[in-house]
């Protein structure tokens, strides 16, 4: 099976197709370079051409032509993923959805939208009805809703609503298959798991129905404390205050605020741990009451009432994976981990792990609900030395009982629970029989007997020049 790039390009020439090296290379990259491990392996990857469909009918045309000519297709929203998810390991076609941006319908509690709509544009549209999406990636300003669903997991809002994968957080997905005659399927209920967080390996999402929450003028807040335990407890306890509505509760161990958050630096010392919060305006009175009950913490910023000469910008752009970005910019030797500290032992486990890697790991926690209980997602900052040490740090985390979603791997399995997702695999068999969709991302498809003893290396990866 050899890709006939020339034939596919000819068949699609009437569409918005680009094959010039520079723009194609730009559209073939994502934020894989957060990981030194992935940077060493993926930096050279590039597609042969990029197509930007305007409609579902054009998506179907692309898939049909690429199917016929055996050309791999890697879908791209905005390319803000961190694991090379949107990178075309075998070259071929990048299907760039940034022209499919229509918000089709807004009703109380729900919205129907095309996949290429930016999260911020989606919120702007929903805002006209006093609504907003329940949760968003901290790349709200640049990422697409389709990329969030196919490649993301949760984020700002997950402290209330849990993760994208939780029942009810996606209502319906419309999906086009990669076959001789692509089918268009509407998925709800159990079917949603087939394509959510599947990296576009088994179908292209062309329409999305999501639940909405009420939109508020969230108050952005920073609280500082010299006591890490107090900062962590503040975030955890606040997320457990049933009457106080929040959208974000992040904890940054010192010296993150002082060392990496330039606008915060004048207001926080090197030993200050920081808590970043988004609180509903009508919960502010209650929040202030809550805060006054806690010794050893001080509110250094609230967006509705402050005298900072230079405001910090949205607090959520300090949280989730923006923390890593800010740290990286200052110290390029930094990388990160994705850890889960599950209720009820989450605080103790964080403390234990914190004690284990002094100077090497800096705790960054996001309060998040799972199964109805508040725990922490950790996006720990790590001073990178070697790949071996990074693997060792992960192993120690796991030994202590923290689950790690390894962000230094490019396959669905290694970035997840290291097990085959049978639902996704079964649907790939049906929807992508030639295995052309985003190749190299699903080990179960390529190598069913893989034993996860070392990092998977996709055998058909483009050769570095």
């Amino acid at each position: 099976m050899t890709a006939d790039i020339t034939a596919a390009k000819a068949a699609l020439a009437h569409l918005d197709l680009v094959d010039a090296e520079t723009p194609v290379r730009a559209a073939s990259r994502d934020f894989f370079w957060y990981s030194p491990v992935l940077k060493a392996r993926l930096d050279h990857v590039t597609a042969d051409f990029v197509v930007r469909p305007r409609t579902e009918a054009e998506v179907i045309e692309v898939l049909k032509a690429c199917y016929q000519h055996d050309v791999p297709v890697t879908t791209r929203g905005a390319g803000t993923g961190n694991y090379g998810q949107a990178m075309p390991f075998e070259g071929g076609c990048v299907l760039h959805l940034n022209r499919m941006t229509e918000v089709r319908e807004i009703a109380p509690g729900r919205v129907v939208v095309e996949p290429g709509c930016l999260l911020k544009d989606l919120d702007a549209a929903c805002g006209e009805t006093g609504q907003e999406i329940r949760m968003f990636s901290s790349t709200w300003a640049t990422a697409t809703i389709g990329g969030f669903i196919a490649g993301g997991s949760g984020g700002v809002g997950s402290v209330t609503w849990g993760s994208l994968r939780d029942l009810g957080n996606i209502i319906r997905l419309r999906v086009v298959t990669m076959e001789a005659e692509p089918r268009v399927l509407d998925f709800t209920g159990e079917e949603l798991a087939r394509v959510s967080h599947a990296y576009g390996t088994n179908g292209i999402i062309t329409e999305i129905e999501m639940p909405l929450a009420p939109a508020y003028d969230w108050v952005d807040i920073f609280v500082a404390s010299e006591d890490f335990g107090a900062a962590m407890a503040l975030a955890d306890d606040l997320a457990n205050e049933d009457g106080l509505l929040i959208k974000l509760a992040s904890v940054y161990e010192a010296p993150t605020a002082h060392a990496y958050f330039q606008r915060v630096r004048p207001h926080a010392s090197e030993s200050d741990h920081l808590v970043g919060l988004m609180v509903a305006p009508h919960s502010m009175d209650g929040f202030v009451t809550f805060l006054a009950r806690r010794p050893g913490v001080r509110m250094i910023y609230r967006s509705d009432d402050h005298n900072w000469p230079r405001g910090p910008g949205p607090v959520f752009e300090y949280g989730w994976n923006h923390t890593t970005l800010r740290a990286l910019k200052v110290d390029p030797s930094i990388t990160y981990l994705q850890v889960r500290y599950g209720f009820p032992d989450h605080r103790a486990l964080v403390e234990e792990i914190r004690d284990t890697f002094p100077g090497e790991c800096i705790q960054h926690l996001e309060a998040i609900r799972a199964h109805g209980k508040v725990g922490f997602a950790g996006l720990t900052l790590v001073k990178f030395s070697t790949e071996e040490r990074l693997d060792e740090i992960i192993r120690i985390h796991e030994e202590k009982g923290a689950m790690v979603f390894n962000p230094h791997r490019y396959t669905l399995e290694e970035g997840g629970r290291q097990t085959v997702d049978d639902v996704q695999l079964a649907f790939k068999r049906e929807a992508d029989p030639k295995g052309l969709l985003n190749p190299g991302k699903m080990i179960a498809w390529d190598d069913p007997d893989w034993a996860y003893e070392r990092m998977y290396a996709y055998p058909r990866m483009q050769a570095a020049e």
Copy 2:
């Protein structure tokens, strides 16, 4: 200190004042008769006159005149309380607030309203902005917002938002004191605890600011199961599904549905346990998926799609204390308890207690959030035999670790945690120096050394004729 009723009436004659026996007696009663214990003690209680102020200024007039003439004042919303809270034990004046019903301001996330507004009218007004109150008593159709705050605790919506007393569930209360010159005070933050759930013993609430939630066309649902554990787990697990938005999850042990819910009876057998739910319409797909995963449960009713010849009416009017009402109507020997089964042992504790009183107690549970975790409020149906046995049943509950809020007592302390509320007491000293507001409801005021060894009997209680 003897009340000069005649002088007070004369001073207030220009207001809407009634002193005819029948209407005064009607405005002097609440739903105390749910309790055989209270029925035996309070049935005769009646005021001397009733005043219905139209404005805060008139409230002040009433309080001033009654203060001057040493006349007790008992405030009344709609008189749907269950513990004689709104009953004038020493006679005097009933201050009936059912004319102060103005909804003053609605903004995103908040409403300002007068206390006499019915919960249903408040929701109707908020509905025009797509909003509704976070939680309401199941007496939504008849009770006032002021009575709910001064006499209630939570209800429909507490599965998401916790209890009224939780930080953030009341924003501001405006209160008039009972002094020679009544003061008007605005309370927020910690001050709210002074007068919330204080039965009007230390100030009259004349304006209320409450948080709002988005309004949805909630889908009413009944699910039946032959397995009590499965029914209980369904309610608990659903309340822990972060992505599924619900407003109510009630569990009714068999034979409640068959024996007491007449419209449900044709659809549920004697051995069917029932779960009553309110689910947001945009969470219905996810809910149906959730339900299909659970063996041994069957949805027998959903309000958006059913073929019952006679609909059951709002499902919330089967929950909270409406369950007791429905049971009482069929079997007058039934009374009830108010129990708390706290996370994490709530299910096991319910099972244990259920095994302890076969045939005598029928479990009725409401899933409710406390400190961020889902547990149960039990409004257990009890076949009443004697007061002694009722006390014994309560004692056994407490011994097993369930907290009981005794609904067969008329004082704040005995209906609560049997301890003095220092905040409320301190404010009463300040705001009601003569002790004229709703006398007999606060033991700490009347008898600071009371030891809670037996039921408190207010010494100045009106004599039965």
